[in-house]
Symmetry: C2
Subunit: 209 residues, 2 copies
């Protein structure tokens, strides 16, 4: 019996290289939840295999800046020379539809979302150690050494930002991390501030029978 | 990897007859958690099969009232002519030991616990309907009709007290309810206010390697 019919806005964030995308993928592979991924917008060039409208909406810097001026982002950030943002309209449409919307975004963006939508569930995906993060970034091999060190420096700062989140989930193992997130989502649906109205409605309906 | 080493104080409460004891039992039957049950104290007479020190500590009204005066209860209530209470020392000892302590108590008691230990996790076990509650009380057959109606009247008032809890879990099916509670416990361990210190310690330790 589900008391909260509305979808949750779930924000997966954490330092670059922590494996946010892999955790999100493991989450979406489970059949027992109705997750929807809100596609982000970026000005960075597509990597090999990335598809416009699936991995990202790839747009020009000019278009991105116009959308900022029009207030059409739930959050956005400039990161290693490129803009990344979450189009507001898409998230609102999905939430209104009752979907569970998962955002996979950078740390500054997560704080913007919390400010604009306090009901969002912020999950900080953390590396089991700083070394694990370093190894992961080098293994990926998609960026130059200079960019990796730029990312690591940023990551180091971001690790201390976990305090602003609702939950911390260590990505020691991708399936474990996804399982913990599923438990968080189940628990959040049962939280009194989300479920109380549904519960009172249920009692009301039953007493008319 | 577990960030929060301390046990949780988990309060299972809800109207009389909702099946709190059955849900607690299902919870304790799972092997993957280290639950401890804090035994309550009562002045009511033992029912057939109930064992002193296991189901309750059965004490006289005089002893119970002495303990109230000495401030030795985390919570207590008088209910259908009998006192029920949670001995403070026992809970403190178990929590200090790192155990996950489960209290199964009445609604007034739960509010007293929240006031004394704000870190406690309050779970309101709710019936799927008012009729379900009524049927359950009559089926149990341990009380006279007068007492059942007294309980039902009280239960009706208590249903509206769910607002003061952290979570609402419908006992539509005992295994479902226990599963939801396990998800809540997992999520609560990951909550930032409980896990942040453990996480910062972890990073600290790693950087010394």
């Amino acid at each position: 019996m589900k008391l909260n019919q509305q979808g949750l806005l779930i924000v997966l964030s954490g330092p670059s290289g922590v494996g946010k995308a892999t955790v999100r993928q493991a989450l979406f592979n489970t059949k027992d939840h109705n997750f929807t991924y809100s596609v982000s917008m970026t000005t960075r060039k597509p990597r090999a295999g990335e598809v416009d409208g699936v991995d990202y909406y790839f747009v020009s810097e000019e278009e991105f800046e116009n959308r900022i001026k029009q207030g059409r982002f739930l959050e956005f950030a400039k990161f290693v020379g490129n803009f990344y943002g979450t189009p507001m309209e898409e998230v609102q449409r999905l939430l209104a539809n009752g979907d569970e919307v998962v955002l996979e975004i950078e740390v500054e963006g997560a704080m913007q979302v919390k400010a604009k939508m306090p009901d969002a569930v912020l999950i900080f995906i953390a590396p089991p150690s700083y070394d694990a993060l370093k190894n992961r970034l080098f293994r990926r091999g998609t960026e130059s050494e200079e960019i990796i060190y730029e990312r690591l420096e940023k990551a180091h700062r971001e690790l201390t930002l976990a305090a602003g989140y609702d939950y911390i989930v260590i990505n020691d193992d991708v399936e474990n991390a996804a399982d913990r997130i599923k438990a968080i989502i189940r628990a959040e649906h049962a939280r009194c501030r989300r479920s109380l109205n549904g519960y009172l409605q249920l009692l009301e309906e039953n007493s008319h029978e």
